[in-house]
Amino acid sequence: MATNYQLTSNETSMEAKIALLLRFSVFSAATAILCGGGHFLLHHSHNMPDYRSFSNTHSYPYSPRMLLLQVWRKDDLAILQCGLLLLITTPVLRVLYSIKIFTEQNDYLYVGISIIVLLMLLYSLLWHLRP
């Protein structure tokens, strides 16, 4: 029983670290979204884009490289999109962190399980790079 309780306390500290990481990235993402979007609204408040019809052609940059280039030029929408992208990658950070912790605990079964989840996420995130 003693070993079980020790395991639980180990896991509790692991959970506390993941919790802190999640909070930090959600907060940073929300700040970027608010700054980029807020600034965009200040300058474009009188337009109303048509959101009724869907066009799957991109009116905004969406690859990380193009985004960073636009952020460098202080483009509001690019900053907003960086925030959104950061939010999307928050779960990836969480899975990466779990892999690190499971490795430290020599729990290779769960290192493997976490890697499968990571690959699924990367498949989706890198899907736009398909040939």
Binding site: N4, Y5, T8, E11, T12, M14, E15, A16, I18, A19, L22, R23, S25, V26, A30, I33, G36, G37, F40, L41, H44, S45, H46, N47, M48, P49, Y51, R52, S53, F54, T57, H58, Y60, Y62, L77, L80, Q81, L84, L85, L87, I88, T89, T90, P91, V92, R94, V95, S98, L109, Y110, I113, S114, I116, V117, M120, L121, Y123, S124, L125, H128
Partner: protein
């Protein structure tokens, strides 16, 4: 209506949805899509994209709060995430091949089911299978606090739970929702996980599930930044407030009211979907 007014109204509506979603445990995602589509006349693909981002934000935000209490079973969560991410990727491919009529009607049916499950009282069924093969191999058993004392628990019927999680992931990827209700159902009914543990573990999984479809949504242009902004910020603030209010309020009145609203929105989505108004 100009874009500033639009953003402000969508922010307010999402805040309310996030607040009620957190207070009732139903999540805000399910009501945000019908709100955007029916009230703000936003295209359903953009609504789905914005909702999905807000689901990731609220899940990561609240998972942080739950993780501190040490109730989440990270092993069960991580293993079942294989199932939900497979489903989510399949669902997001399905979303681009499915007509808006079908998507709207399916969402309507999901809304009706969520309303029904929220009224149903969850009862604790204790697992009586400590020697189960797969659960034992994967070391799913754990401890959770009951009146301050750590109690052990076991997990049953892992393959059934896994299969239900693939379905939950598919719905999440197709409709841009967290499908928390379905995840909780799989863990409660199939796997017999204690209620406190299943609720928090489901919350923990929602973010990863949603992220698995978000990449594909992003490349397909579903995520329109100026719609995603007010929805995400509103839902985030709302869910934080909801978690704070939760401690001191009569949730059953709120729950019944919210369930009724969800059911109404569900009927409206089915009707609008069938008649091709969306």
């Amino acid at each position: 209506m100009n874009i500033s007014e639009f953003s402000l109204l969508v922010f307010a509506a999402s805040l309310l949805a996030g607040l009620l979603g957190a207070m009732t445990g139903l999540g805000g995602g399910v009501v945000i899509i019908p709100l955007l589509v029916l009230a703000f006349k936003v295209n359903i693909h953009y609504a789905i994209g914005a909702s999905l981002i807000s689901v990731i934000a609220t899940s990561s935000g609240s998972a942080a709060a739950y993780l501190r209490k040490g109730l989440t079973n990270i092993r069960i969560g991580m293993f079942l995430e294989i199932a939900t991410t497979i489903g989510a990727i399949f669902g997001s491919f399905l979303a681009t091949r499915t007509s808006t009529k079908v998507i709207a009607s399916t969402l309507g049916v999901v809304l009706l089911c969520s309303a029904a499950t929220s009224v149903r009282k969850r009862k604790q069924i204790f697992a009586n299978c400590p020697e189960m093969g797969i659960a034992r191999l994967l070391r799913f058993d754990g401890f959770y606090p009951v009146d301050g004392v750590m109690q052990p628990y076991w997990v049953c019927r892992v393959p059934l739970g896994f299969a239900l999680m693939v379905v939950a992931g598919t719905l999440s990827g197709l409709l841009g929702i967290g499908s928390g209700a379905m995840k909780v159902l799989a863990m409660d009914e199939a796997m017999r996980i204690p209620l406190k543990v299943s609720t928090t573990t489901s919350n923990f999984m929602i973010g990863v599930t949603a992220a698995a479809s978000a990449g594909i949504y992003w490349s397909r242009g579903y995520i329109e930044p100026m719609i995603a902004m007010p929805v995400t910020l509103g839902a985030l603030v709302g869910s934080m407030l909801g978690a704070a209010v939760l401690v001191r309020s009569k949730t059953h009145v709120v729950r019944a009211t919210f369930a009724a609203v969800i059911a109404l929105l569900g009927c409206e989505m089915i009707y609008s979907g069938m008649t091709g108004k969306i």
